[in-house]
């Protein structure tokens, strides 16, 4: 009996450590996404590099979609995929939504003043919020998320007039937090946290252009 109890404790320990491991793996995958900002620093006057800038991110996303299609249609077993959540068993994994969000922001030519903070929200604010959720009460998640997202928008818009920077930062951070908070089974928060503030900001951007308000310069210049 003692042996069985000991063995079950050992198995539980291993499962717990695995869960902990998976959780950090997902966090690191998120923060890794910020490297895609290198897109803006690459020179734009070299023909082959422009082609690569279009085709490489698109190929990555197409590859992940095909992979997920094969997994959901059970042609590849889910156990080969590391870090999936239970609710992702019968729908596309959140990494696909994450990748599609970044791809749309980069390839649909959203101004980088919009794309950069939205990508940072998904890559950095989201795992920070996840970590706060893991350790503290739920109410702190959205407060922390709002402050972190606000910081990212302020940094990207620091060249704008103060009133515009504040307006953009508050609207953007609120959009990101709403995108993260509102959960749908069929649409992942990794997509919403990027696209919702991006759409809000695009409306402000186009309105400002129409009215004739000076918009700030980009913060990343091509090499």
């Amino acid at each position: 009996m003692k042996k069985i109890v000991g063995q079950s404790r050992e198995i539980k320990k291993k499962i717990d450590s695995l869960e902990f491991d998976v959780h950090w793996y997902r966090r690191v995958f998120h923060t890794f996404g910020a490297t895609f900002l290198v897109y803006y620093i690459l020179p734009s006057d070299i023909e082959w590099l422009n082609l690569a800038k279009f085709w490489v991110p698109l190929s990555i996303v197409i590859f992940t979609i095909i992979l997920e299609y094969l997994r959901i249609s059970r042609k590849i077993d889910s156990k080969h995929f590391f870090g999936l959540r239970m609710y992702e068993k019968n729908r596309a994994g959140s990494y696909v939504f994450f990748a599609v969000g970044i791809l749309l922001l980069l390839l649909l030519r959203f101004p980088q003043q919009i794309a950069i903070p939205c990508i940072l929200c998904a890559c950095i604010a989201d795992p920070i919020m996840g970590e706060v959720r893991h350790r503290f009460e739920k109410k702190y998640v959205y407060i922390t998320g709002f402050i972190v997202c606000l910081f990212f928008f302020m940094i990207t818009w620091y060249k704008a007039a103060i009133w515009l920077m504040l307006l953009i930062s508050i609207v953007g951070a609120a959009g990101a937090v709403i995108g993260e908070a509102k959960k749908f089974w069929w649409l992942d928060d990794d997509f919403m946290i990027q696209m919702l503030p991006a759409i809000f900001l695009l409306i402000i951007w186009l309105s400002a252009q129409y009215i004739g308000i000076a918009l700030p310069e980009p913060i990343i210049y091509p090499w």
């Binding site: 291993k14 690191v28 923060t31 959540r85 239970m86």
Partner: protein
């Protein structure tokens, strides 16, 4: 979405595969963000700091954000991986 649904898919059979996936991706996940942040730092230093052009300060801030956030999450990740491998 209830708390139960937030649990990860667990499977005791594929520990070896899991470990392999992590080992293959770890160098990329850890090293690439550091390389990119140093790229931003270098670009800022060459075109901004050394010629006194403040327009590149945004790249300096982005470099720090990418570097600090990645290191902050890489450390516990690598620690748990080493601990798991020892088991």
């Amino acid at each position: 979405m209830n708390d139960k649904a937030m649990e990860y898919l667990k499977n005791d059979e594929n520990k070896a595969k899991i470990l392999r996936t992590e080992l293959i991706l770890t160098p990329l996940l850890v090293a690439l963000p550091v390389v990119v942040s140093f790229l931003f730092l270098h670009h800022w230093f060459e075109n901004g700091y050394s010629v006194g052009n403040p327009a590149f300060n945004g790249e300096l801030m982005l470099a720090f954000i990418i570097l600090v956030s990645n290191i902050a999450f890489d450390i516990p990740f690598v620690k748990t991986m080493i601990r798991y491998r020892k088991k």
